[in-house]
Amino acid sequence: MMFADKPVVTLQNVDVFQKDSLVLSDVNFSINRGEFVFLTGRTGSGKSSLLKTLYADLWLQKGHAEVSDYVIERLRAAEIPFLRRKIGVVFQDFQLFMDRTVQENLMWVLEATGWTERAKMKTRIAEVLMQVGMAPAIDKFPHQLSGGEQQRIVIARALLNDPHILFADEPTGNLDPEVSAQILKLFLEINKSGTAILMATHDFEMIRQFPARMLKCENGKVLEIQGDKGI
């Protein structure tokens, strides 16, 4: 059980490697429950690698990291799926199954993460679709939805297991500005209901519109940025 005051994410002296090359060194920060944090920086500055380290896609080689009560440097391969059920991951390459409806997509995830009761599963799917404003699309196929709508479904999928934190890597990467703003509003709403969010983006216009805590990857370090200075 999580204590209310314990951070969801803690990093101490973490070095982030991409293959054998050091991308970020001596990273220290923590994210509290219900916090909203932007992670910015140029392309290639190590944002994605940092996120991957946090959801155990890249091995943590040096330092201490704790995500949702899992100690990342001591994580065994068999535990990785269970860590990922406590967090939500949203990013561009993250695909929906094109051969099945929205409901079947979400149902698959619930089955994969150990749900068994049909009625509860259906209720949960209805809940998350309501949360992302896509309830009417339940029986549609992904190709019948627009890019923004698909992204909402992906977000709904990430919310299914009621995660403590969402990791979003350029979630609005290939959406037009208007749709991007809507998606960001959705993230803010999810955040209001208590889920912490760490969002990597290089869309500074968006950050200006929705000010929040900001971390910046620059020259191999992660810096805490106050206000909108240094953008």
Binding site: R84, Q95, F97, D99, A112
Partner: protein, 294 residues
């Protein structure tokens, strides 16, 4: 487009065709081995002692020698009657002239140097050098028998040749199996390449590897089953065609062994299909995202 995104979807036709060809070739080798095995058994059953008789025996004497031999325990019985044939020296002479093309009568005049003989079929259990030698001395003691002979070292030479054939055949099958496993592995690997991001997505929502593997392996096993069934059908067809074309082949057929071979082919198909898929999925399960883009 949407089809390649189907879960566990691999190009059915490609995988099934290569599996079918592989299994068919292995099956044909198996069929060949079965027939060769049966053939040696038949050859062994046809081993004969040649009992040469003294010249100028009376008909009653010939008859008593026949009865004496027929009493022996080594004589092969067919439907209760001993398998003993009488070949008169005239018949033997004609046969000799036919086979050798040399008319010795021109050299020797009317006199026939050949002897009357009984050919005696021997039970398979006496078919080894030692027993045959014992039989030879036993039969030679019978009054009226001039000499007994059999083809010496015949047994050993058959056994040697057959085991050579087996070694070559099994080496061929092993080589084939190796090539085929690589081929099928490649086919399945390519097929799964289009699904690598899907596999990725499943991992990121927190599905265990076991859960992700299952649909792929079920599919692979089904493809193997299909390939196996087609190969088995083709084998039966090939065997029937061979039966009609090759005379005497029918004598070599054993239904129970053929059925066993077909069952093995089908099981082999399922195993190869499932295991190759397992291996290929495993490869993608342990790849990092960056490697997926390569």
């Amino acid at each position: 487009m949407s089809k390649s995104k189907q879960l566990g979807n691999t190009p059915n036709l490609l995988v099934i065709v290569s599996l079918t060809i592989a299994l068919l070739l292995i099956g044909l080798c198996g069929l060949l081995t079965l027939n060769a095995h049966k053939l040696t058994e038949l050859i062994k059953q046809n081993v004969e002692l040649q009992v040469y008789l003294e010249n100028d025996l009376s008909t009653s004497k010939l008859d008593s020698v026949f009865k004496e031999i027929a009493k022996q325990d080594f004589v092969l019985l067919k439907e209760g009657s001993p398998q003993i044939n009488f070949i008169s020296k005239d018949v033997a002479a004609k046969k000799f002239v036919e086979e050798s093309g040399e008319d010795y009568t021109k050299l020797l005049g009317k006199s026939n140097p050949l002897l009357n003989l009984y050919t005696v079929k021997v039970k398979p259990e006496f078919f080894n050098e030692k027993s045959l030698l014992a039989l030879k001395t036993r039969v030679e003691k019978i009054d009226g028998v001039h000499e007994v002979s059999y083809v010496e070292n015949f047994v050993d030479s058959i056994n040697e040749k057959i085991s050579k054939v087996y070694i070559i055949l099994s080496a061929f099958v092993a080589l084939l199996l190796g090539i085929i496993l690589i081929l099928i592995n490649n086919t399945i690997k390519l097929a799964l390449y289009s699904q690598r991001f899907l596999i990725r997505s499943m991992q990121l929502v927190g599905a265990t590897n076991q859960f992700i593997r299952k649909p792929f392996i079920v599919k692979g096993a089904l493809q193997g089953l299909t390939g196996g069934l087609i190969a088995a059908t083709l084998l039966v067809v090939a065997q029937q065609v061979a039966l009609h074309r090759i005379e005497g082949l029918a004598a070599l057929q054993e239904m129970d062994k053929l059925v066993m071979l077909l069952v093995i082919i089908i099981i082999l198909g399922v195993l190869i299909g499932a295991m190759s898929t397992f291996q290929s999925v495993e490869r993608y399960l342990h790849k990092s995202l960056d490697d997926l883009y390569k």
